[in-house]
Amino acid sequence: MAESAVSTGLRAYVLIVGMWVRSTMAYRTSFLIMTLGNLLATGLDFVAIALMFTHIGQLGGFTLDEVAFLYGTTSVAFGLADLVLGTMGRLGQRVRDGTMDTLLVRPVPILAQVAADRFALRRLGRIIQGAVLLGWSLSRLDIDWTLDRVLLMPVMLLSGGAIFGALFVLGGAFQFWAKDASEVQNAFTFGGTTLLEYPPTVFGKELLRGVTFVIPLAFVNWLPALHILGRPDPLGLPARIGFAAPLVACGCCAVAGLAWRAGLRAYQSTGS
């Protein structure tokens, strides 16, 4: 039962996404402009950091190349989650105006429908920007490419995407109760990326503990990246802790899934 729900969900997701992509592609120029705009907007973000480095040589002991590495990895991870689940933020509105009802009468899991609704391919812009920065930083960094470090790269990006994805779903589930809570979700997702773009060493220990043990954002890129860059963890955790990222991601997804189910059952619809 659970497995078939996953497969029908995925199938429906692909169906709806395919339809949105086709309808976006009807206006090809508009799509290209939007994607370029997205790319530029996110690109300028890093320019600000680069400008900062023209005045300082290091940030919390990290060079510009290393910061670019952190920025690129979080951007790719966040971009993946945002591409797949980015429209979850609109859930609160659907709950408020009652259009959630129309999704509930279709023979397809709600999560797939909500996630695929108004799928926007232009969000690829963020992933492209992140990948370009990541490539640039890798070309300049002198990393000791042992096998575990090579392995950790894709593991880190995928787990990071999954952790952000779980946060999107968790935020969505929360909106079943608090209908205007999309800003709370944004604080953890968009806010989280901004945090992870900077070296962990510039933040206080309390914050680091919080994002390691409470909302495990540190596993998105900080902890794996520290190992790849060959740097010690400011909290003194073992070097290979980064490899726990997939486990942490699975845990996050499980929590998000449970919250989602509870939210759906608490859904009260609207009058008429």
Binding site: T99, T102, L104, V105, Q268, G271, S272
Partner: protein, 320 residues
């Protein structure tokens, strides 16, 4: 007996939080549905009526699995809707008069194609159903128009078609004629009658328009304050509530109130007079008597309003 819809003592209680002062919130329970039981056999067309806020929509939302009941037992086609919502969804069709289940930005054609793949409708069934709907609901010129550009009546027809493409066993219609013009209403009603007669689809509809019930349903259920207060034929509803139809006659000149057995004159305004007579009896003998004895210019018959019928029934009738 093959009962498609079964409800036994179904309840729905909402927790409503209300602001009581600056920071304090008061919790209050609202019993939207308060112990409803009924059965609908396969192939029946039932009207489900009641005043605003009586619990009609809440019942439909529980029957479709949108809302989880707070108590009681509920089965549709043998399935518990809230437990197996997606499995049930393949076997039911739902039309909300107030909002569309179609994709707002997509043309009808694309919405239907998506419905076909979501419900995994076999190709030949899909084509046959779509052709029939397009023909009977006059959709051929609307297929390439995005849903948001459709008028209310067009959108409603589009929605009804979408709800029927997968051959549902039950069709729920929540106010399907609300806000429609006379022509659209007639089209929708004719179509629903055909679907029920030809496909044997079970239909449960809520409405504010008594004519919908009169033309479509042999059986009507009345709900008030979350309780079922009447379940039977429309005639019976009129009899219980002693509701009246009104004959409006325009005479050539002002005359004293008309006196005809079986009716009473309730209002006189210049040459126009209003005659009330029981809704269960025929208008023909009264019309004939008026035409016989008075200089008649024009006349019309007015059906009682649904709210009046229910109000009369609740205050004077026996109920169930």
């Amino acid at each position: 007996m093959d009962d498609l819809i079964e409800l036994d003592g179904v309840e729905k209680v909402f927790q409503v939080r209300r602001r009581a002062g600056l920071m304090r919130r008061e919790r209050r329970e609202v019993r939207a549905v308060d112990g409803i039981s009924f059965r609908v056999p396969r192939g029946e067309m039932v009207g489900y009526i009641g005043p605003n806020g009586a619990g009609k929509s809440t019942t439909i939302k529980m029957l479709t699995g949108i809302l989880v009941p707070s108590g009681g037992r509920l089965r549709v086609a043998g399935i518990d809707p809230s437990r197996e919502r997606t499995r049930l969804a393949r076997r039911i069709g739902v039309v909300f008069g107030q909002r569309t289940t179609l994709w707002w930005d997509l043309p009808l054609r694309d919405s239907y194609a998506l419905v076909r793949r979501m419900y995994r409708i076999p190709d030949d069934r899909y084509r046959e159903n779509l052709d029939r709907c397009v023909e009977l609901l006059n959709l051929s010129e609307l297929l390439d128009v995005p849903v948001r550009q459709l008028s209310l009546g067009q959108r409603m027809r589009g929605d009804i078609a979408a709800a029927l493409l997968h051959d549902p066993e039950v069709l729920y219609l929540d106010e399907p004629t609300i806000g429609l013009d006379v022509v659209s209403k007639a089209k929708v009603r004719q179509f629903l009658r055909d679907v029920n007669a030809e496909q044997g689809t079970t239909v449960l509809l809520t409405t504010h328009d008594l004519t919908d019930i009169e033309l479509l349903c042999k059986r009507v259920m009345v709900i008030d304050h979350g309780r079922l207060v009447y379940d039977g034929g429309l005639d019976g509803l009129h009899a219980v509530g002693e509701s009246e139809r009104t004959l409006v006659v325009d005479l050539e000149q002002e005359l004293p109130p008309i006196e005809i057995p079986g009716s009473r004159t309730v209002r006189v305004e210049g040459p126009r007079q209003w005659l009330a007579f029981p809704a269960t009896s025929s208008a023909a003998p009264i019309v004939a008597a008026v035409a016989d004895g008075y200089p008649l210019v024009d006349l019309s018959v007015r059906e009682p309003e649904i709210e009046d019928v229910i109000a009369r029934m609740l205050h004077g009738g026996r109920g169930v």
